[in-house]
């Protein structure tokens, strides 16, 4: 479409296309992609709120054991004196809330709910982060290899992804956790349960990121900088890990952030079903498992761990959504 010709004489002088106002003090600074994403992210108040909660939660999880040591808290300490022996429910209103036990005590054993939530936080996050790192490492490597090499390699890896996506994930996880319950790889107790959870959750989840990375690599490998690198004599592994992967950091971060909440829910589900973290070790899913027996008479015990899971998962989801919008404006 051609622009109509202006014929009003005086205004028809040559004009600069854009006028920069107030830049006479110095040069305009160039901004990297990261800076642009950060400035976009900052404007998204909900995502920032999610990010702040995530940071607080991670701090809480990291400092969980030190906090317990500092205040002399013990997640497995029994407080039978706070339990009504006739009903085995906590004495007092709201599940036995008091200054000493701000979130109440659990029925039957009288263990402090707040301390158990604190103890459960690190278990939850260690499993979720571990599983995410495991599955996204496999996914990123296989995805970039499939996308870059194409051909038969791509066919094999893509079929593998389809196959993994067809597995009944939860049931496989239940089955593996159940068969390895007795002991495996010389591990026992909590380290065993945590490693088994990381393995079962992480090992089957990789095709989700794998597909995304493969798709992005298909587009990236045609770009000039890859050709240039190849022209300078770079070969397969160098191009994969030094040229392609750094350009895929954005989507990998986004989908890691979005996979963590899924994995938190997964861990909680398995512990809820009794194949994850085993009592007496505190875990959020395990607490809900025990709360089910009491929810009609002591709903407090169910609501606290339920809300803990909800807030954590929601915060990670908000952060992930915000990061995705900031790093990939097309997805808005």
């Amino acid at each position: 479409m051609t622009a109509p010709i202006e014929t009003t004489g005086a205004q028809a002088e040559a004009q600069p296309e854009a006028v920069l106002v107030g830049v006479d003090k110095g040069q305009i600074e160039g901004r990297s992609l990261g800076q642009i994403a950060w400035s976009r992210f900052k404007k998204d108040k909900v995502a920032v709120a999610g990010g702040v909660i995530v940071i607080l939660l991670v701090l809480l999880a990291v400092l969980s054991r030190p906090i317990q040591a500092m205040f002399g808290l013990d997640p497995n300490a029994l407080h039978q004196d706070l339990i009504d022996p006739n009903t085995s429910l906590p004495k007092g209103d709201f599940g036995g809330m008091s200054w000493d036990h701000p979130l109440g005590v659990e029925p039957k054993f009288g263990r402090d709910i707040a301390t158990r939530i604190l103890e459960g936080s690190w278990v939850s996050l260690v499993v979720a982060f571990g599983a995410t790192i495991l599955s996204n490492t496999i996914g990123a490597v296989l995805g970039v290899v499939a996308g870059y090499y194409g051909g038969r390699v791509d066919t094999i890896i893509s079929r593998l992804m389809d196959t993994f996506l067809a597995f009944p994930l939860l049931l496989f996880a239940i089955a593996i956790s159940a068969t390895l319950q007795g002991g495996a790889f010389g591990l026992e107790g909590l380290p065993l349960h945590i490693s088994v959870l990381i393995f079962v959750i992480g090992f089957f989840n990789w095709p989700y990121l794998g597909r995304i990375v493969r798709g992005q690599t298909l587009a990236l490998r045609e770009r000039e900088f890859v050709d240039a690198s190849r022209g300078m004599g770079a070969r397969g592994p160098y191009i994969l890990f030094r040229e392609l992967l750094p350009n895929l950091v954005g989507p990998i971060i986004v989908y890691s952030t979005l996979l963590i909440p899924t994995n938190i829910l997964f861990e909680a589900s398995l512990s809820f079903l009794g194949v994850g973290i085993q009592p007496p070790q505190a875990s959020w899913g395990g607490m809900l498992n025990q709360a089910v027996d009491f929810y009609q008479v002591d709903p407090q015990y169910m609501i606290v761990p339920g809300l803990a899971i909800f807030v954590t998962v929601l915060a990670f989801n908000l952060l992930g959504d915000g990061l995705r919008d900031a790093l990939d404006p097309r997805s808005r």
């Binding site: 597995f167 049931l171 089955a175 159940a178 909440p261 009794g274 009609q296």
Partner: protein, 335 residues
């Protein structure tokens, strides 16, 4: 078309073989790799406090001492042709398809699965209708007016929906609507006995399941619709003078629905193989609950049977989706 169907069916059969191999590996190979002895593994197939003779019998019946390929052969042969187990004084028949035999409860797993299937189908079908309708409608409304009040409100609720654990919302629903205000029934009633009571008991479970899934589907539909409504063919449809409603329904939604159908097939297949958590929370005697019972009883064969069945359902659902695709979209057949 026929060659396409044959190819897809062949691929599905291969996938089934792979899935049975992986299931076999999880139940028989992985524990051994992790350092368990054949005795320890056999013990897991009997449950708590077995005698020495029990362990030896199970070990012999499952061939746990034999080489791996022989064990796998027993496993596949059982599924196809059935199996007979020698239990000291008596023998137990496990008719084909033998999805395992619970040495602890002295029952074959397959009849248990089929008797529980109607419950799981009731749960999955009811919830699927609810989430598909609500999810797609909400997704379309949100996509047509992006960044509007409704869009933000719906997507906020959807985000909360995916962040809520099923075993929390489910129990909350039970607490509120069966104890605090007893509107809904607590024990499952088969459809053939009393359809009204059937729906009444299942309703809270449907809603809890639908809340989770409709949130996912609303987000999927929204992003799909946002993408398709920017396509050239939408502009063409508008330029032809079609009404906006027709453009959205016939041109936009139709294109946006295809990926949703794929996901739907997978989800439905998975759910039919046992909605483990939902059935546990709402005490529905379905397939998933059978697996959980296996966990609590320390009885592996039920878990093995449910896992196999779920894998079968997923593979079959995948095949059906592929065939539906081909029927709807001629381009798929040719590629």
């Amino acid at each position: 078309m026929i060659s396409y169907i044959l190819r897809r069916t062949f691929a599905a059969v291969i996938l089934l073989l792979v899935v049975t191999a992986v299931t076999f590996a999880i139940f028989f190979l992985l524990p051994r790799m992790a350092g368990q002895t054949a005795d320890q593994l056999a013990q897991q197939y009997i449950g708590k406090s077995p005698t020495k003779a029990d362990i030896a019998a199970v070990k012999q019946n499952l061939g746990l001492d034999e080489p791996l390929y022989a064990q796998y052969w027993h496993f596949i042969k059982g599924i196809v042709a059935g199996a007979t187990y020698d239990l000291g004084p008596t023998t137990a028949h496990c008719d084909a398809p033998c999805f395992g035999y619970s040495f602890k409860n002295h029952v074959a797993v397959w009849p248990q699965l089929t008797s529980r299937l109607p419950v799981t189908i009731s749960l999955a079908a009811g919830a699927a209708v609810m989430w598909l309708v609500s999810g797609v409608v909400i997704g379309v409304i949100s996509a047509l007016k992006p960044r509007s009040f409704f869009d933000r409100a719906f997507m906020g609720v959807a985000l909360a929906g995916v962040s809520l654990p099923m075993f929390f919302t489910g129990n909350l629903a039970l607490l509120l609507f069966t104890y605090q205000w007893p509107i809904f029934g607590r024990t499952y009633v088969p459809f053939t006995e009393n359809p009204a009571q059937w729906a009444n008991t299942l309703f809270p479970a449907w809603c809890s399941l639908a809340l989770l899934y409709s949130a996912i589907y609303a987000r999927l539909t929204r992003s799909g619709m946002l993408e398709t409504m920017n396509e050239d063919f939408i502009r063409t449809a508008r330029a032809k003078g079609l009404r906006e409603r027709r453009v959205v329904a016939r041109h936009g939604l139709r294109a946006a629905l295809t990926p949703i159908i794929t996901v739907f097939g997978m989800d439905l297949g998975l759910l039919l193989g046992g909605a483990v958590i939902t059935e546990t929370v709402f005490s529905l005697p379905g397939i998933g609950q059978y697996a959980v019972q296996g966990i609590t009883d320390n009885d592996l064969p039920p878990i093995l049977g449910v896992t196999l069945l779920a894998a079968f359902f997923v593979v079959i659902a995948n095949l059906l989706v592929d065939l539906l695709y081909a029927a709807a979209d001629p381009r798929v057949r040719l590629s």
